[in-house]
Structure formats: structure tokens, C-alpha cells
């Protein structure tokens, strides 16, 4: 019985993947051709990833080294982005900060991907009590203004970077759980699930091998769409003094450090980290939109 089952999808799938892959590739090319902005976003992403991976190695100065003689210098050939009030090189600090900012966002998105994905799929597939409990938790989180809830969570759990990751994951939970629930719910009684059930598969096995792989593409799009929001949220928290502490380079806290200097005209201290933050969020939002167009053409806006 199980032998027949293993053979059946193989027989159907064998000719399918190459055809599907070429169409996906050409579709991707079509989307990028129609929307060159997605290509631009991809370029930005590569730049950010390089900074995050190699930042400390390629930064021209030590991001923590202060040089009082060179404090508050405007952008110049020596310091492309200028220096702050301790004479630290802002370009180096912006580059090194990429790792921390992207790291917080990636870890929080991965955490909520796992939590929200599993509980959402369980809620959609099994229904009943599981659905009720997951739905209630999601509703309760949604009853708060999300940034305010994140502030409350970090204040309660303790003022650390880990807790910023946790708080950012929690406030994104309803979004992931709902998407996963809806996708799993639609497939609960789909033909291929019925077939798997008839072939004697247990429910858990069906969830893992039939439902979960089908929910994945939408969830991955969701991840890239919420990356930008996660970066904004984490930077906002560190802007008001939560999580990251000076002198650690991080975009939100660097904008906060430069906020006082804006009034006296030293714009570069806040502008460059703020612009980096903006570009990163912009990049992930565009990538998410592009990815959605590729994975799920019907949901295009």
C-alpha cells in the first residue's frame, strides 16, 4: 500500500518539475523585467548582506575608537559620512551596525515563522480547540497597539537584545498564524490530502508531508514582507533606549545619538544611519512584493 503511494506521486511528478521550474524562472524574469525596481532591491540586498557579513573587516575605521581631535566633522574624503561627537567614524559605524540590525530582524522573523507557522497550520488543519486557542492568543495580541505591546514586553522581560527579538516575534505572531491557518484550512480536505489519508497516513504525517510544504511558499513571502517591519520595530525600540546600549553601533540608537545635533545643524550624525535604516526597510518591502508576484500572482496589488 505504502509502496504504491510512494510510487504514485513520483510518477505524476517526474515530468512536472522541469516544466514548472522553467516557467517559474521565466516568470521571475518577466516580473523583474516588468518591474526593474525588484532588481534594484536585490542589488541593495546584496550590499546590505555584504555589510552584515564583512562589516567589521571592511570598515575603514574602528567603529568604537573615539578621536576627540576629529569630533563633529562634516562628511569629507577622510570620513565619507563625517564623525560624531566622540570623533567616531560614522561610515564604519553604519556598516558594522548592519549585522546587528539585520541579525535582530532575521532571528525574530525566524522565531515567529516557526511559532506562527506551526500553530497556524495546526489551527487550520485540526480546527476545534487548537483553532480556538490559537485564535484567542492572536486576537489578544491584536488588541494592543503593536509597538506599545513590544515596549511593554521588553520592559517586563528585561532590557536586552534577546528580548527585543522575542518582542518583535510576538507582535508579528498573529499575522503568521492567520496566514498559515487560512492556507492549511483550505487544504484540510483537498484531493491530495484525502488521497494521503486513504493510503493510510496518520494525521501528523499528512500535516508534515502534505500540508506544510504547500503552506511554505506563502510563509516565505510573509517572512520577507515582515523583515522590513521587524527592522523598523527593533530600531524604534532602540531609539527610545531599549535593548541595544551605547556605544554599540546600531542604526536606531545612532539616530537617537544624532537627534540632539540636528537642532544645531550637524545633520550627518543622524542622517546616514537613518538613511541606512530606510534603505534596508525599503529593500525588504520591495523584495517581498517582488517575491509575492513570483510565488502568488493572484495576490498582486
Amino acid at each position: 500500500m505504502s509502496g504504491a503511494m510512494r510510487m504514485e506521486p513520483g510518477a505524476v511528478a517526474a515530468p512536472a518539475p522541469p516544466a514548472k521550474q522553467t516557467s517559474l524562472l521565466s516568470h521571475a524574469r518577466h516580473v523583474i523585467g516588468e518591474n526593474p525596481v525588484t532588481g534594484l532591491a536585490f542589488g541593495l540586498f546584496v550590499l546590505l548582506a555584504l555589510c552584515a557579513l564583512l562589516g567589521p573587516a571592511i570598515a575603514p575605521y574602528d567603529p568604537l575608537a573615539s578621536d576627540v581631535a576629529a569630533k563633529l566633522q562634516a562628511p569629507s574624503l577622510h570620513h565619507w559620512f563625517g564623525t560624531d561627537e566622540y570623533g567616531r567614524d560614522i561610515l564604519s559605524r553604519v556598516m558594522v551596525a548592519a549585522r546587528l540590525d539585520l541579525g535582530i530582524a532575521i532571528f525574530s522573523v525566524a522565531l515567529v515563522f516557526a511559532l506562527g507557522g506551526v500553530s497556524g497550520v495546526a489551527a487550520g488543519f485540526f480546527g476545534g480547540w487548537t483553532d480556538l486557542i490559537v485564535g484567542r492568543i492572536a486576537d489578544t495580541i491584536m488588541a494592543f497597539p503593536l509597538f506599545v505591546l513590544a515596549m511593554g514586553i521588553v520592559a517586563a522581560l528585561g532590557n536586552t537584545v534577546t528580548n527585543i527579538v522575542i518582542a518583535t516575534a510576538i507582535i508579528n505572531f498573529p499575522l503568521y498564524a492567520r496566514v498559515a491557518r487560512a492556507e492549511a484550512n483550505v487544504r484540510r480536505d483537498a484531493g491530495f490530502v484525502q488521497a494521503a489519508r486513504l493510503s493510510g497516513n496518520g494525521e501528523l504525517r499528512i500535516v508534515l508531508t502534505q500540508v506544510l510544504p504547500n503552506v511554505m511558499p506563502i510563509m516565505v513571502v510573509q517572512m520577507s514582507l515582515t523583515m522590513g517591519y521587524a527592522i523598523l520595530n527593533a530600531a524604534g525600540l532602540s531609539f527610545i533606549g531599549l535593548g541595544v546600549r551605547p556605544p554599540t553601533p546600531e542604526w536606531g540608537i545612532m539616530v537617537a545619538e544624532g537627534a540632539g545635533n540636528i537642532i544645531s545643524g550637524e545633520w550627518w550624525i543622524a542622517l546616514f544611519p537613518g538613511a541606512a535604516l530606510m534603505l534596508a526597510v525599503f529593500c525588504f518591502n520591495l523584495l517581498g512584493d517582488g517575491l509575492r508576484d513570483i510565488v502568488d500572482p493572484q495576490r498582486r496589488t
Binding site: 494592543f144 503593536l146 509597538f147 515596549m151 522590513g228 527610545i240 537627534a259 526597510v281 518591502n285
Partner: protein
């Protein structure tokens, strides 16, 4: 109508219970020993035990919860260590400043985003449509504190049009006699135009910052809703019957497109109430957001918890108001409900 309203009021209760349970849990997972924290650094073990008994922390959790709810019902949110005042009176005195700022921001955003969205939908593919898309994408990518700082640099430092971002009213003026707590309205009620202008000046930049932030979802939703309504049968019929274009758009299409836009307002408020905290920090605005931030930095937890609870309750009530408004706009919802 009254019965519908009552039914809607009841649907808000589970949210309120959820909010209270979560804020209670947040108060109980404070880092370290809450009693030791409130007793102060130099307290003896005996003093800590006394504080623990006084705060009811030696009781089982359900009992603590009952006590917490009872305190809330009596308006007891605890006492701020930094101001020495009960948290509830601190919040009550600062809430109007936040509300005035947030509401003005929302009004500005609506005034720009709704016409922009309509124009983008009516002239699909035109320059305005592209402008709308850029605004919508850029708006969600801009960190709100960064937008605020850019505006301060441009309009205060470079142009000198706006006053320094140092609070709600210049020190040379005295606030208008309190009626609503909104300086703009109170100064008008006092028939003092000079004071009105003095109150408006520091409000413009922070409100504009919030407006830029909340423009995007409203414009995007208006455009999408208008597009789907404009493609519907009754609009085609109206057009075929020879009604003037503006009549079709304003009377027929727009009223129907308002429904999804009003629904989006709930999400917009979630963003606005959070963004408010950041904007208040940038502009040294004396609202509840900056109160919470100051308390956070001083590790003064009672005001933070009071703030989170106040914001959440406000948000639940706002969502309720939006639901009720929805019923007013769309008679079908009333019948179905």
C-alpha cells in the same frame, strides 16, 4: 439600533479581558524580585518580606489577579517613582497632549490620502497613480523618528519656519484655561487667536510626521477600494445612464469605497499609537508616550504598565467606535448583525 450597539459593546469584552490578563502577566514577570525592587536597594530581608505581603505578592497568582483587577477598578495604577504621583493622574493630565497630536496627524493624513487614493484610482496608470504608489511604498519604509528629525532639520534649522522641537507651547505663553485639554480648541474657546497660533506652531511638525507615516495604508486602501467599486455593475449603470462623472465618483463610488477604508483605520490606529511614542520623544512632546519612555529609562515600571494598559484600552475602544461607525455608514451591516 440600540440593541445592535449593545451587541457590539459585548464583543469588545473578550478583548478587554485579554488586555487585562496580559498586562497582569507583564507586571508579574518583572526582572528579578518585584518586592525587592519596590523595597529599594538598601532594604533588609525583613523589609522585603513586608513589602511582599503589602503588595500581595506572597499570595497565589489567581488571588493576585483578583487584587489587580480590583485595584484597576478603583483607578489604582500604582505610583510613579520618578514623579511621586499616582500613575493614573499623571496619565490623565498628559493624555490630552497625545490625543491632540495623534488626532491632528490622522486628520491631515486622511485629508491628503483619501483624495490621492481616489485620483490614483480614477486616473489609473497616470502620474498621480505613480505618485500614489511611491508615497505608499516610501511611507511604510520611513522610520517615523527619522522623518521627524528630517522635518526638524529642514523647517527649523534650515528654513526657520518652525519653532524648536521642545514641547507643546513656548515658555513665554501660558496655556489656555482647560476645557477640553486640547490647546487648539481651548485657545479658540478663550477667543485668543494669538494663543491659538502659538499652540498650532509647535504642533504642525509632529502632526505632519505622524501624517506622513499613516498616509501610506490609507492611500493604498482608498485606491484599491475605489478600483474595485469603479469596476462594479452599479457604477457602469450610473455611467450608462449619463450621470456626470463627478457625481458617479463622489456619490456612487466613493460612499461604497469608504467601507474598506474605515476598516483599515483600525490598523492605522495601531500604527499611530505606537508611532506616537517615537514622535513624542523626537519633539519632546509632553504626552503619555514620552512619559512612558522617561519611566522606562529610569526603570520605573508602574508608569510603563499603566501606559501599556491605557493604550490598549484606548485601542479596543477605538476599534469599537470604528465598528459602530461601520454600521452607520453601511445599513447592510446593521441588518445582518
Amino acid at each position: 439600533m440600540l440593541r445592535q450597539t449593545g451587541k457590539r459593546l459585548i464583543t469588545a469584552i473578550p478583548s478587554l479581558i485579554g488586555v487585562i490578563v496580559v498586562t497582569f502577566l507583564l507586571t508579574r514577570v518583572l526582572p528579578g524580585d518585584t518586592a525587592a525592587y519596590f523595597a529599594g536597594p538598601a532594604a533588609t530581608p525583613q523589609a522585603i518580606a513586608e513589602v511582599r505581603a503589602k503588595l500581595g505578592l506572597d499570595q497565589p497568582l489567581p488571588k493576585q489577579f483578583v487584587r489587580y483587577v480590583r485595584d484597576l477598578a478603583h483607578g489604582d495604577f500604582g505610583t510613579s517613582l520618578t514623579t511621586g504621583q499616582p500613575v493614573i493622574s499623571d496619565i490623565a493630565s498628559r493624555l490630552p497632549a497625545s490625543a491632540e497630536l495623534t488626532l491632528l496627524g490622522l486628520v491631515i493624513a486622511m485629508a491628503i490620502a483619501v483624495p490621492l487614493g481616489i485620483l490614483a484610482a480614477v486616473r489609473q496608470g497616470s502620474l498621480i497613480d505613480h505618485a500614489c504608489r511611491i508615497v505608499a511604498t516610501a511611507g511604510v519604509s520611513l522610520p517615523v523618528f527619522f522623518t521627524g528629525l528630517l522635518l526638524v532639520y529642514a523647517f527649523y534649522f534650515l528654513l526657520g519656519w518652525a519653532p524648536a522641537p521642545l514641547g507643546r507651547l513656548d515658555v513665554f505663553y501660558t496655556p489656555p484655561p482647560q476645557v477640553t485639554g486640547f490647546y487648539l480648541i481651548d485657545s479658540l474657546l478663550a477667543r485668543d487667536l494669538a494663543l491659538f497660533r502659538a499652540c498650532l506652531a509647535p504642533l504642525i511638525l509632529p502632526a505632519a510626521t505622524l501624517a506622513i507615516f499613516s498616509l501610506a495604508p490609507i492611500a493604498r486602501m482608498t485606491r484599491a477600494a475605489m478600483l474595485s467599486v469603479l469596476a462594479s455593475d452599479f457604477v457602469r449603470t450610473a455611467r450608462a445612464n449619463g450621470l456626470a462623472p463627478h457625481r458617479v465618483i463622489v456619490t456612487y463610488a466613493f460612499r461604497n469605497a469608504m467601507l474598506p477604508v474605515v476598516t483599515t483605520l483600525g490598523m492605522v490606529f495601531s500604527f499611530l499609537l505606537g508611532a506616537n511614542v517615537l514622535v513624542e520623544k523626537v519633539f519632546a512632546w509632553p504626552g503619555i508616550g514620552s512619559y512612558a519612555v522617561e519611566a522606562l529609562i529610569a526603570s520605573d515600571y508602574a508608569p510603563v504598565q499603566g501606559f501599556v494598559l491605557t493604550m490598549a484600552v484606548l485601542y479596543v475602544l477605538l476599534n469599537l467606535a470604528i465598528d459602530l461607525l461601520y454600521g452607520v455608514i453601511d445599513p447592510r451591516v446593521r441588518i445582518e448583525a
